[in-house]
Symmetry: C2
Subunit: 121 residues, 2 copies
């Protein structure tokens, strides 16, 4: 059991690398991860799971093949399983990611942006 | 697929009832729920699942039989499955709850505070 609550801002202050999610807590077989990013990621999909972004700072765009969705600070978006998407941010964006344990950030796409998995903040 | 991002503040503005969680999104078989509360809830446990609180406004205390944990705005706490707990807040608190679909707010405890389940904001 967590000894105390997890402060999101405190955990965000412990790293600066972009596109490199850090696990901060687990709920059943799901993980809460903080991520910082700027620029454009790679097109990918997660065949077996939805994936949730909650923007904590700045704003991001989630690109789909047929549309773009803007997610601003204080907003939440659930990307459906199996749907190709790309994340982008003009300025630095900080987000809380929620997804099952073991999900790789680049999904089904090999990329230099593929991050080590299960790294804790 | 969501047409647009879900703004947490906008959704919080749509209701005022206490201890009455409102679903705002689903991820796989999990739900994101907003809840407002003040005062003290009832002791209960959820035998089969962890339960996550992220405080969006104000602060709350999660009481366990052997300790209390304070969760402030911008903080996250995961209550482990099967552990008896009670939630309290001196002032009004707004939180984002994350737990599997079908979880009743009072868990294994019958109470006048048992809320209708699966009510969407």
């Amino acid at each position: 059991m967590q000894a105390s609550a997890i402060n999101l801002a405190d955990k965000l202050a412990t790293f600066s690398a972009h596109w490199s999610p850090r696990v901060i807590a687990e709920m059943n077989d799901y993980q809460f991860k903080l991520v910082k990013f700027q620029g454009e990621f790679v097109w990918h999909a997660h065949a077996d799971t939805d994936e949730t972004f909650i923007v904590l700072h700045g704003q991001m765009e989630i690109g789909f093949r047929d549309r773009n969705v803007t997610v601003r600070e204080g907003e939440l978006y659930v990307i459906p399983r199996g749907v190709e998407h790309i994340t982008r941010a003009e300025g630095e964006c900080h987000a809380l990611l929620i997804e099952p344990r073991g999900i790789v950030n680049t999904g089904d796409t090999d990329s230099t942006l593929t991050a080590d998995n299960d790294v804790w903040a």
